[in-house]
C-alpha cells in the first residue's frame, strides 16, 4: 500500500471536469484507490464520491493506493495534478 499527499492547484479545485478526468484515469488501473480529505474518505473511482470531497484550490488530499500497479498510479497522479489536469481554461 502506498500513500501520497497532493495539493490541489487548479483555480476551481477538484471541480466537475478535473474530477471526471481523475476518475477516468484512475479507473484504468487495477489498484484500489481511496482519497482522503481531512477525515472523509471516498472511492477514487467514483466521480460522485470525489465531488463530495469539495476539494478546493490549495487543499491537501491524500491518495491511498493498494494493488499491483500502485506505483504507476502514483506516477500518473503526480503528472496529472502537477499539470492541473491538463485543463487550460477553467
Amino acid at each position: 500500500m502506498t500513500e501520497q499527499e497532493f495539493v490541489i492547484r487548479n483555480k476551481l479545485g477538484l471541480h466537475a471536469r478535473p474530477a471526471a478526468i481523475l476518475v477516468q484515469k484512475i479507473s484504468k488501473f487495477k489498484s484500489s484507490v481511496k482519497i482522503m480529505k481531512e477525515n472523509e474518505q471516498v472511492d477514487a473511482k467514483s466521480v460522485m464520491g470525489v465531488l463530495t470531497l469539495a476539494a478546493a484550490c490549495g487543499d491537501t488530499i491524500k491518495f491511498i493506493v493498494d494493488g499491483e500497479d500502485e506505483q504507476e498510479v502514483i506516477n500518473m497522479l503526480k503528472d496529472l495534478i502537477d499539470n492541473k489536469f491538463y485543463i487550460e481554461y477553467e
Partner: protein
C-alpha cells in the same frame, strides 16, 4: 362589464444567463422526482431486473454521448466536455456496482435501488458548504432522471412543440435540451432548480439564451400560455406583466437587440479609430475545431495558434502527417486571412510522457527547458513540426512564431532550423511558401529589452503578456501568496511593452499582442496609444473590442499614455484610467 385583469407577480431567482426574453410560457410538466416507492421482486426475477438495469445504464450513456456530439457542434469543445462528468456518473461504481448489489441482495426493483442510491449521495452533497460543489446535485438529479426514464420506459414530453419566442418553464433541463431550445428559437427559459454554475446555466450563456434558474417551484405557479418576462441579468421573472413593466422591458430588450445588431454590423468594418488609425483584431486559437468560431467572429485572422493540443494527453510524439492534416485544414479554413503558428511551447515535464529522454530534473520548470529552448534541444521533434507547418503554408497565409525567445542568437538558431527544413522540402520538390514570415514572441524581459535587435531579423513581434508580466515581476500567478502582485499596470511592464512596440516600429515591423492583456478592454486604449498594431483575442471579444476602438481617437489615446508614463505611483495610474473611462462614458 369590468375586465378581470391578471395580477403582475415578480419572482427572484438566480441570474444564469444575460439578456431579456418576453413571450408566452411553454410549461414542461414537472416530472416525478427521484423518490420511487419500495417494490419487492421475486428471487427468480433478479437476473432479469439486473439485465434491464444494465441495459438502461448503457442506453443512458449512449444518450449522453450523443448529446455530447450535439453540444460539440453547437457550442464547441469546452461545453461538450461538461458532459463527461455526466458520463462519469453513469460509470460510477455507486450505480454500476452498489445498485446491482442492492437489487440482488434486497430483492428490490432497479428504479427503487437507483433512487435510494442517488438520494443517499445527494444527502451527502447537501452537507457541503461550497456552492459550486453543492450545485452538482442538479447534475446528479439530471442523470438520475434520465436513468429512471430509461428503466421505466417513459418518453420525455417533447420539447419540439415549442414555437419561436416562447419561454420554457421547466423543473429542470439538460444541456442537450437547451440546444433544442436554441434550434426552436425559444426566447429564454426558467427552471426550478440549478445554480449559476449548473451546466444548463453555462450552456445558456454559450447559446446567449436569457435564463433564470433556482426558482424552486416556478413550475407550480406559472400556467401554460401566460405572458412572461425573463430578465437574465438580475434573475428576475415577471408573470403577467402590466403595461408599464412590459414597456420598460420591451425598451430594454430593444436596446440589447440593437447593441447586438450594431455589433454584427461591425463585423465587416475595420477596427479603425475616429481619426482613421487602423489596427487589426485577430483571434487566439487552441484547436482546429475552434476555427469556425473565428470565422464567425469578425476577426481578420489568427494571431496565435497554440499548437500544444497535439502534444498533450498522449504518449508518443505526433507524426508529421497528423500535424500536417490539422494545420492544412486550419490554414485553408481561415485563408485568405493570415494565421500565425506558434511552435510548440511545452515544458520538460511533458517530454518523458511523449517518450523523449535525456532530461535532468528541474527545480523551477518556469525557468527551465521550455519553449524554443526545448525545441532546439529536441531538434527532430521541432523539425517535424516545422515541416508540417511549411507544408500547410501553400495558401500563403501562414506565419511562424517562436515562443520564449530570449536573444537574437536564439532566434537565429530557430530560424536556421526553418531554413534547413525549407531546403529539404525543396530537394523533395514539395510545395510551400518560400517567403513565409517568421516572428518572435516577446515574453521575456531579456527579449523585450533587446527587441530592437531581434526586430532586425524577425518579420514581426508578438508580445505574450502573461509570461512577460510573470517574468518581469517574478510573480507566479498561481501562487496564492503572491498572486495579488501580478500587475499588468506595473510601470516596468508598461515601459517594456512600449519599448517593444517602438523597437518594432523603428525597424518597420508589426507588433501584436496575444496574451490576456490584449483581451482586457480596460487596457485597450492604453495599448492603442502605445501604438500596438494588432490585438489577438478570443473570438467572443472581437466585436466588442472593435466597437471600443472605433470610438477612440488615437491622439487622445497617446495623450493618455503620456499621462501614465509621467506618474510614478500605481494609484495615479488607476486614477488616470478611471477618469478617462468616465470621460469616455459621458461622450459615448
Amino acid at each position: 362589464m369590468k375586465e378581470n385583469k391578471p395580477v403582475q407577480k415578480i419572482f427572484k431567482g438566480i441570474a444564469a444567463s444575460e439578456g431579456i426574453a418576453i413571450g408566452k410560457a411553454f410549461l414542461v410538466e414537472r416530472e416525478a422526482d427521484l423518490y420511487i416507492p419500495l417494490k419487492k421482486i421475486s428471487k427468480e426475477n433478479v437476473k432479469k431486473e439486473v439485465a434491464l438495469y444494465k441495459e438502461s445504464l448503457e442506453k443512458t450513456k449512449k444518450e449522453l454521448l450523443s448529446a455530447k456530439e450535439r453540444l460539440l457542434k453547437a457550442l464547441g469543445k469546452q461545453h461538450a466536455l461538461l458532459i463527461d462528468v455526466y458520463v462519469g456518473m453513469v460509470d460510477d461504481p455507486l450505480l454500476t456496482r452498489d445498485v446491482v448489489r442492492m437489487i440482488e441482495e434486497d430483492l428490490v426493483t432497479a428504479e427503487y435501488a437507483v433512487s435510494v442510491g442517488l438520494n443517499r449521495i445527494i444527502q451527502s452533497f447537501e452537507q457541503i458548504e461550497d456552492e459550486y460543489f453543492k450545485g452538482r446535485i442538479s447534475d446528479i438529479r439530471d442523470v438520475g432522471r434520465r436513468l429512471l426514464r430509461n428503466i421505466l420506459g417513459k418518453e420525455r414530453k417533447s420539447l419540439s412543440d415549442i414555437q419561436p419566442n416562447m419561454i420554457v418553464i421547466a423543473h429542470t433541463l439538460s444541456p442537450s435540451d437547451t440546444v433544442v431550445l436554441k434550434e426552436k428559437k425559444c426566447a429564454g427559459f426558467v427552471v426550478d432548480i440549478g445554480s449559476k454554475t449548473s451546466h444548463i446555466s453555462l450552456v445558456a450563456q454559450g447559446l446567449q439564451l436569457p435564463a433564470v434558474v433556482g426558482l424552486k417551484n416556478i413550475t407550480e405557479i406559472v400556467e401554460d400560455g401566460q405572458d412572461i418576462i425573463v430578465e437574465g441579468n438580475t434573475g428576475t421573472v415577471i408573470i403577467n406583466p402590466d403595461e408599464n413593466t412590459l414597456n420598460k422591458y420591451a425598451k430594454k430588450h430593444n436596446e440589447i437587440v440593437k447593441e447586438r445588431e450594431y455589433l454584427i454590423k461591425l463585423k465587416d468594418l475595420p477596427a479603425e479609430t475616429l481619426d482613421g488609425h487602423k489596427v487589426s483584431i485577430v483571434c487566439n486559437l487552441d484547436s482546429p475545431q475552434e476555427i469556425e468560431e473565428v470565422l464567425k467572429s469578425g476577426a481578420e485572422g489568427v494571431g496565435l495558434f497554440r499548437t500544444e493540443f497535439m502534444y498533450i494527453e498522449r504518449d508518443e510524439l505526433p507524426k508529421e502527417d497528423e500535424l500536417f492534416e490539422k494545420y492544412y485544414y486550419t490554414a485553408e479554413k481561415i485563408s485568405p486571412y493570415p494565421i500565425i503558428f506558434r511552435t510548440v511551447d511545452i515544458g520538460g515535464d511533458k517530454l518523458s510522457k511523449l517518450g523523449l529522454e535525456g532530461l535532468l530534473p528541474e527545480t523551477s520548470p518556469a525557468l527551465g527547458l521550455r519553449g524554443i529552448r526545448l525545441a532546439l534541444k529536441y531538434k527532430d521533434m521541432f523539425k517535424t513540426q516545422i515541416r508540417a507547418i511549411l507544408r500547410a503554408s501553400v495558401f500563403k497565409n501562414t506565419k511562424i512564431m517562436f515562443p520564449l525567445i530570449s536573444s537574437v542568437q536564439e532566434f537565429r538558431l530557430a530560424k536556421e532550423v526553418v531554413e534547413e527544413v525549407k531546403k529539404e522540402l525543396l530537394n523533395r520538390n514539395i510545395n510551400f511558401d518560400q517567403n513565409i514570415k517568421i516572428g518572435a514572441m516577446i515574453e521575456l524581459p531579456s527579449a523585450a529589452l533587446t527587441s530592437d535587435i531581434i526586430a532586425q531579423e524577425a518579420d514581426f513581434l508578438s508580445i505574450g503578456t502573461n509570461d512577460l508580466i510573470q517574468y518581469t515581476l517574478a510573480v507566479d500567478r498561481m501562487n496564492e501568496n503572491v498572486a495579488d502582485m501580478y500587475d499588468p499596470l506595473h510601470l516596468s511592464v508598461l515601459r517594456l511593452m512600449k519599448h517593444v512596440i517602438d523597437a518594432g516600429h523603428s525597424k518597420g515591423k508589426h507588433v501584436s499582442m496575444c496574451g490576456e492583456m490584449a483581451s482586457d478592454i480596460s487596457f485597450t486604449k492604453v495599448l492603442l496609444g502605445m501604438g500596438l498594431d494588432e490585438f489577438s483575442v478570443p473570438p467572443a471579444l472581437v466585436l466588442k473590442l472593435k466597437k471600443l476602438i472605433r470610438g477612440f481617437v488615437l491622439s487622445d489615446a497617446k495623450e493618455l499614455v503620456n499621462k501614465i508614463f509621467n506618474t510614478n505611483d500605481r494609484s495615479d495610474v488607476i486614477k488616470i484610467l478611471s477618469e478617462d473611462e468616465n470621460k469616455n462614458n459621458k461622450t459615448s
